[in-house]
């Protein structure tokens, strides 16, 4: 095994790239415009904000999951792409700031936060030990402490290895990952209950946490594929990330397309078949009116089409196919979160607002701005990782 793998690429993202500033500019402008929306239509603003916020947070959380899985399974295949999800995770502690508007909008978003409403409602009274404003805020703090800490720690350890070349850090990263996986699993599940499920506080689904994980992880792979293509198109890592690694990401995207469909349908089927009024109402609102177009659109464009397109081995090798499918999955991911959250606000049908777009651009600009700001400070791959050589040698079978 080669100790010093030969890398022919430049591993440093251009230090004078203006990309983070541009993205921050877009993000700042988007948020400013959205702030105007706050004064015209506060409910719409907070719902739009929540949709975009969960969209991007989910991708960052799935990144940290991927890094932890990678460490704990001692994987070799993805060493060259690992720095990208690590960097997403490293920005999570700053991203916590953008949870604050959700807390400010708690009365606009969450019916259970109104004490008079709770007092008049037997079901909400029963749930008030969990669904109350102080505990909600405490939970958000706990989540972001866990996520920010783990994300930063894993990133920091990986950077340290770049600098010192100390392979012992590998076992440290494994030691962090092992207990952090169950912690993440629980905190992500409860966060999804808090952000999305409690929008309709009468409704409950024990599967919702897995469902949120599944949708986030599927779109995470789509984002990864697009990110790698973006870097390569700009001349980075063309000889480092090879066809075999691209194929692996395509295979992950395919696998999680199936996983997503399985989980999403399992949640629907149990509720549909049991036909209990308190559970079916949630789906009733989302399968009536124009909302049903999104529901069937998800079935066709988020599962059936990607599934059939990526089923064949050849297709997972073809970059343009992977890029199209990834874009489709990302769009459908946004629409799915929209479809989960928005019927609470407009039960009668889809009502797109310009604030949906401006908050999405705003938070997206900030999210990717933070990413690239961090990404350009260090090497784009873990260059001293002991398994890097094996990863680079990964051969490509057609």
């Amino acid at each position: 095994m080669s100790h010093q793998p030969t890398i022919t690429d430049n591993l440093q993202f251009s230090a004078d790239s203006k990309l983070p500033q541009i993205l921050f500019g877009v993000g700042g402008a988007g948020l400013l415009v959205s702030a105007y929306g706050y004064f015209t239509n506060a409910d719409q603003f907070f719902f739009s904000y929540l949709v975009s916020f969960t969209f991007f947070t989910g991708i960052a959380l799935a990144s940290v999951f991927m890094v932890m899985f990678h460490h704990i399974t001692k994987s070799k295949w993805g060493v060259v792409i690992r720095r990208i999800p690590e960097t997403f995770g490293a920005t999570l502690w700053i991203w916590a700031l953008f949870a604050i508007p959700v807390l400010l909008g708690i009365h606009n978003l969450y019916h259970w936060s109104h004490e008079d409403a709770v007092a008049a409602d037997k079901i909400l009274k029963g749930k008030s030990a969990y669904l109350n404003t102080p505990f909600f805020i405490i939970r958000q703090i706990i989540y972001f402490v866990i996520w920010g800490y783990v994300g930063h720690k894993l990133y920091k350890a990986s950077i340290d290895m770049d600098k010192t070349g100390d392979w012992g850090i590998t076992s440290f990263m494994r030691k962090v990952s092992a207990p952090a996986i169950p912690l993440f699993g629980l905190s992500v599940a409860f966060a999804s209950f808090d952000w999305l499920m409690s929008l309709d506080p009468h409704w409950f689904s024990t599967m919702f946490g897995v469902y949120f994980f599944a949708i986030s992880f599927q779109s995470f792979w789509a984002v990864m594929i697009l990110m790698v293509f973006f870097l390569q198109r700009n001349g980075y890592l063309n000889n480092t990330i090879g066809q075999a690694h691209i194929y692996d990401m395509g295979a992950w995207l395919f696998a999680f397309t199936v996983f997503y469909a399985y989980i999403a349908f399992a949640q629907f089927l149990l509720i549909y078949y049991a036909n209990l009024p308190e559970e079916t109402l949630w789906f009733y609102h989302r399968l009536e009116g124009s909302w049903k177009f999104i529901a069937y659109g998800l079935l066709l464009l988020r599962f059936a089409l990607p599934f059939l397109v990526l089923l064949n081995r050849e297709q997972k090798h073809r970059r343009n196919i992977l890029a199209y499918v990834s874009v489709l999955v990302v769009i459908m991911h946004f629409l799915e979160i929209y479809w989960i959250a928005m019927p609470t606000l407009s039960a009668h049908g889809i009502h797109f607002s310009w604030i949906d777009l401006s908050t999405f651009l705003g938070l997206g600009g900030i999210f990717f701005g933070l990413f690239f700001r961090q990404f350009k400070q260090n090497s784009m791959i873990p260059e001293k990782d002991p398994k890097l050589g094996a990863c680079l040698e990964k051969s490509y079978h057609q």
Partner: protein, 180 residues
């Protein structure tokens, strides 16, 4: 030799390492033989390219079976719950697609798995009781430490002397004619 008429199956050559096997495979391909096979105790990286093996058709067989399972399951349930014996279950429609998904899913998977296993058998020419190569005593080493190649007599370019010379020149450690 008081033997009945025997059919020549092919000519078998033994090599001592995978590298030689890859080289001879490349040469055999270059000379235009297409009915030949190689035998080794373990998978050799790159042998499929050296032999110019075509991509397996197994995927298409599995896909066909999957489609059959999918449509078969839907057709079966449609016949049972809509045409033959409609039952009112909790006021749900007879044509109740969500409730049919688990069975459809399972039958798709089941027939795909059958397609994969039996399709593999079919493509490998299995099951069969014997193979002419088992007549050769030294061929047993193909599961131990020797590497074999056999050009079959049914190949249109096959000629006993030419093939024997080819293997001899390539440095085969043992050559034998295989009879059925």
């Amino acid at each position: 030799m008081s033997i009945k008429q025997k059919n020549l199956y092919g000519i078998l050559a033994e090599f001592n390492n995978p590298k030689e096997l890859i080289n001879i495979s490349k040469e055999v391909v270059k000379l235009g033989y297409d009915k030949f096979d190689t035998y080794s105790p373990f998978p050799i990286h790159g042998i499929d390219k050296a032999m110019k093996l075509k991509k397996s058709k197994l995927g298409w067989i599995v896909f066909g079976h999957g489609i059959l399972g999918f449509s078969g399951a839907l057709a079966m349930m449609y016949f049972m719950s809509v045409i033959d014996y409609p039952l009112n279950i909790g006021g749900k429609p007879f044509f109740n697609v969500p409730a049919w998904v688990p069975v459809t899913f399972e039958l798709t998977i089941l027939l795909s798995a059958f397609g994969a296993v039996f399709g593999m058998f079919f493509l490998n020419g299995l099951p069969r009781f014997n193979h002419p190569l088992f007549n050769i005593e030294r061929f047993k080493n193909s599961t131990d430490d020797k590497f074999f190649i056999c050009i079959e007599a049914s190949d249109s370019k096959f000629h006993t002397d030419i093939v024997t010379d080819l293997f001899k020149n390539a440095g085969a450690s043992y050559i034998e004619e295989v009879y059925e």
